[in-house]
């Protein structure tokens, strides 16, 4: 391979690289959010069944997607870290967790807000809702475990192991609507096509991309902080902060 992967896996290079990338992702996230919100509230038509309340979907669905996706990415980085002992991948995993928890919380919150008009209750014990709640607990548990272990290397590995164990929950969330007959709506975006109005779809996708870019920007920012913290005794950080 032409590119030296180890070169980019070194915290020092990654630090420089990510510093350049953050503004790009940050601004894209902000702009996409504005466009997405505009479409959601002014362009997309009123739903014939659900009225205006359905507009929560534009936040709810991207948040729910991200909550699951971020978890998978965390598990991926954790597994890489355990297998190849790369410090950076553990840091990526750590950097993603708070954002993941945030999106999970947002998905739960907006879902609950939406549930009140739709189902007449803030909360029902349906399989998808329950498994999403478990996801939140997993995020919190992992972060609590990290917080409880003083030694960073040990914490990295323990957290990665837990992340891997919890990863089975994600397919459960995703397929819960199929496996159990539940109150919650099934997937309307499938590989085979969609049943949605175009503007609705566009709004949702744009919001989803905004969430993506936001996640990347925030995660990179956190990784940079982590790198500085962990490598504070190394030559290059001293050179960086000493000047």
């Amino acid at each position: 391979m032409a590119i030296n992967l180890y070169y980019y896996a070194s915290p020092a290079t990654f630090y420089q690289l990510s510093g350049k990338l953050i503004p790009w992702f940050g601004w894209s996230a902000a702009i996409l959010t504005l466009i997405g919100l505009y479409i959601s509230f002014f362009v997309a038509p009123t739903d014939f069944q659900q009225g205006e309340a359905y507009r929560i979907i534009f936040i709810h669905v991207p948040a729910a997607w991200m909550s699951m996706f971020i978890y998978l990415v965390m598990a991926f980085w954790g597994a890489i870290g355990l297998a190849f002992k790369t410090r950076l991948s553990f840091m990526m995993s750590r950097a993603l967790a708070p954002t993941g928890a945030l999106f999970t919380f947002v998905a739960l919150w907006t879902g609950a807000l939406w549930g009140k008009p739709m189902w007449g209750a803030w909360w029902v014990w349906d399989a998808r809702l329950t498994s999403e709640l478990i996801l939140l607990f997993l995020y919190i548990g992992i972060m609590a475990l990290w917080a409880a272990i003083d030694d960073p290397q040990r914490g990295d590995r323990a957290g990665a192991l837990l992340t891997l164990v919890g990863a089975i929950n994600v397919p459960i969330i995703y397929f819960s609507v199929k496996w159990w007959n539940t109150l919650h709506q099934g997937a309307s975006i499938k590989p085979s096509g969609t049943s949605m109005h175009e503007a609705m779809l566009a709004g949702m996708l744009i919001m989803a991309f905004a969430a993506w870019f936001y996640t990347i920007a925030v995660a990179l920012y956190r990784v940079r902080t982590l790198i500085i913290e962990r490598e504070r005794n190394s030559e290059w950080v001293k050179a960086l902060t000493g000047k």
Partner: protein
Amino acid sequence: MLAARRRGDWLTSQFFFVMVASMFPLGIGPDPNTLRMIGPGVVWVSALLASLLSLPRLLAEDFRDGSLEQMLLTPQPAVLLALGKSLAHWLIYGVPLLLISPILGIQFSLPAEAIAILMLSLLIGTPILSLLGSVGAALTLGLRGSGVLLTLLILPLYVPVLIFGAGAVDAIMAGTSAESHLSLLGAILVSTLLVAPWIAAAALKVSIE
């Protein structure tokens, strides 16, 4: 590894279940219909909590007095150690629970077949709790506030077991078949049996360092 167990522990954990499960009628009121309805759920939740209550002791003592180190330094692979620990936990916690569950069933005036299914679901489900529990116990070894942390980490993983376990009994009481629930439980058991000891062994090594 199991030579170290004493008989006294057994009896006490049996009493424990009876008492925990007896608290519910006290807290909820004596109406038999309500009791019957919530019975399976309550027994299962007690099983989960009892498992949680006994987990911190599983490894913490060995860790503190240094025998865990010594065990990791035996020629046996750490996976076997983790598996043995789960088995030990199941023997002192799961088996007594299983033996006592018919009595709990009667306390909640469950019909006979529901009790049979309850026992069956516990028989399949409690080993899962022990296996997952050993992962949690290994991860939180020697940490500050490890008891609560353990709960936080492990309860989410316990939830599916609870749902299918209690679901099986509910199904039989609603007149449908419990088979699908039980076979799902069985599948979970097989997969945790294959995966959990490895992860627990890895976690042990991390924690001991």
